[in-house]
């Protein structure tokens, strides 16, 4: 009996000792933005019983993945709204997933938008264009929301820039997002190249030339995360712009695109 009493006392004492450590762990998890939103009744209704049990057992990632796989079926059956709601649910479960935001916005801005435009159910061509634009706007809003959760990675800035450039045809806004993507050390070499190309579209070739020129004078660049030698990229781009701007040979930085 004495042993059992000591055991209960020990368990209660454990609670007192563990509280500060638990608080520290929770604070650190919040600071590192771990996990997703808590389980709500609305979420329970949308995920089904088995998935809800999975969520309660801590398998958030697996549940989100299986829900995401459902998108494939919705896509093939052209159930765009279901697909959209499903993608929203997946990002609610795992708001830190770059893949969900990135691929989700790509589906909205490209696949669903195009399918809506050519939908035979449209009464007029204008209706198709309007519906296409609505989905592109949804893609933009989706990415904006994603950037709130993941501002520390280059991928979503790049996706937003790509959307502005290729779908909204607004190179100046695309330029700003490409620039932000290119600022990350992990960003592949094409982010920088696409940023300067949009500078060229938006502010003219002279401005683009000035960007490359400044980088050239800054000294030897580090190889980009994808292993591309940036010196070669700069040489090629500078030479092209010097030709385009017809810069006199004496003022040129690059006499030949090849070293």
């Amino acid at each position: 009996m004495r042993g059992k009493l000591i055991a209960v006392g020990l368990l209660l004492a454990l609670a007192a000792v563990m509280m500060p450590l638990e608080s520290r762990i929770h604070a650190q998890r919040a600071e590192l933005k771990f996990g997703g939103s808590g389980m709500t009744m609305a979420m329970r209704d949308r995920v089904g019983q088995e998935m809800a049990i999975g969520l309660l057992a801590g398998f958030r990632g697996v549940v989100a993945d299986f829900l995401w796989i459902d998108n494939h079926g919705y896509f093939e059956r052209r159930e765009w709204l279901r697909m959209y709601r499903n993608m929203e649910l997946c990002t609610t479960l795992q708001p830190q997933s770059v893949t969900f935001w990135d691929v989700g916005s790509w589906h909205m801005g490209w696949n669903i938008a195009y399918a809506s435009r050519i939908d035979p159910a449209n009464h007029t061509q204008a209706e198709g264009i309007k519906r296409e634009r609505e989905w592109q706007d949804k893609a933009k809003d989706f990415l904006t929301q994603g950037l709130v959760y993941i501002p520390h990675r280059w991928e979503l800035y790049f996706a937003m820039a790509d959307l502005y450039w290729r779908k909204f045809k607004t190179p100046c806004q695309a330029r700003d997002y490409f620039q932000r993507a290119a600022q990350f050390k992990e960003a592949p070499s094409y982010c920088l190249r696409m940023y300067v190309r949009r500078v060229e579209d938006c502010d003219g070739p002279r401005a683009a030339y000035d960007v490359w020129r400044k980088r050239w004078h800054d000294g030897n660049p580090e190889p980009s995360s994808d292993g591309i030698d940036m010196k070669n990229v700069m040489r090629r781009e500078l030479h092209r712009l010097e030709e385009l701007l017809d810069i006199p040979a004496s003022q040129r930085l690059i006499s030949s695109p090849h070293a």
Binding site: L32, G35, V62, Q96, S97
Partner: protein, 284 residues
């Protein structure tokens, strides 16, 4: 006059080794581990998605399977330790010898830990193989794709390698081990009270779900000091779930891993001591 026998780590080791070998011979364990390995290996067959999606699915699925099968092995493996000894009456023979109850209980627990560790190692190796297989298939697909430039292919291959070879996954598996050790300790505590294996398994799973629901309950009941204090008796198993965040590419500092591990080990130590106190009082 009876002579009191001192504590011996050697006897703990003997009981642990015996428990481990006995568990390995059990059909339930063998079926579970074979099934786990097959499930993990099948993860590499996710296709029809972008490479980021495929690698995420493989990692999520494999780590999920490691956690599910690890939990099953930890709970079922530990729940039958004491009831089986009592049913076969071997416990009386062992405790009649100069073996202290604490040595016996610790030996049983350590044997169970060895089993969990071995299972995790095997499942992790299979996970690594599934990931390597998926990586090689994705790289081969990119190399054979004639629609993309050489530069783009090189960039994609680099990204595939970066995403597939994530050293942080080890942190996720390490914390899973700490979590399973704690679950095994809790199940051991229940088995010192009850002789029914079914009851012990059921209670082990209840503890598992309660541990995962704790954060939600705390959220619902508010942050009152008394509520928090009472809830702390149930370990927060959600704290060990860093696998999702590792897969999503979030940096998991070692300091956080160390804190969570300290939390788990402290809990486990107290639960094992409590299990001993209950077991020491128990009439055989």
């Amino acid at each position: 006059m009876t002579e009191r026998v001192g504590f011996s780590l050697g006897r703990v080791g003997t009981v642990a080794a015996n428990t481990f070998v006995e568990s390995l011979r059990q059909k339930v364990y063998n079926i579970l581990i074979i099934f786990a390995l097959v499930v993990i290996a099948s993860a590499s067959f996710f296709s029809q998605f972008t490479f980021s999606e495929q690698l995420k699915f493989v990692k999520d699925f494999c780590l999920g399977a490691v956690s599910v099968f690890g939990t099953l092995i930890a709970i079922v493996g530990t729940a039958q330790l004491l009831p089986a000894e009592m049913e076969s009456r071997t416990i009386y023979t062992i405790l009649a010898k100069p073996v202290r109850r604490v040595e016996f209980l610790l030996g049983k627990y350590c044997g169970s830990l060895l089993l969990i560790f071995l299972s995790l190692v095997m499942m992790s190796l299979m996970f690594g193989a599934a990931l390597l297989f998926k990586e090689s298939r994705l790289v081969a697909d990119v190399r054979h794709d004639t629609h993309i430039s050489t530069e783009e292919a090189a960039t994609t291959i680099t990204r595939i390698h970066q995403e597939a070879r994530d050293g942080d996954l080890v942190k996720g598996v390490a914390l899973t081990f700490v979590k399973l050790s704690l679950l095994a300790a809790i199940t051991l505590l229940f088995s010192t009270v009850s002789t029914s294996m079914v009851f012990n398994v059921a209670m082990g799973f209840m503890a598992f779900f309660a541990g995962h629901l704790r954060a939600s309950v705390a959220e619902m009941m508010g942050q009152g000091r008394l509520v928090r204090w009472l809830l702390t008796i149930v370990p927060d198993l959600g704290a060990f779930n860093v696998a999702d965040d590792i897969i999503l590419g979030n940096a998991i500092p070692w300091s956080h891993v160390a804190q969570v591990a300290l939390y788990g080990v402290s809990y486990t130590a107290v639960v094992v001591v409590v299990a001993y106190l209950v077991f020491a009082d128990r009439e055989m």
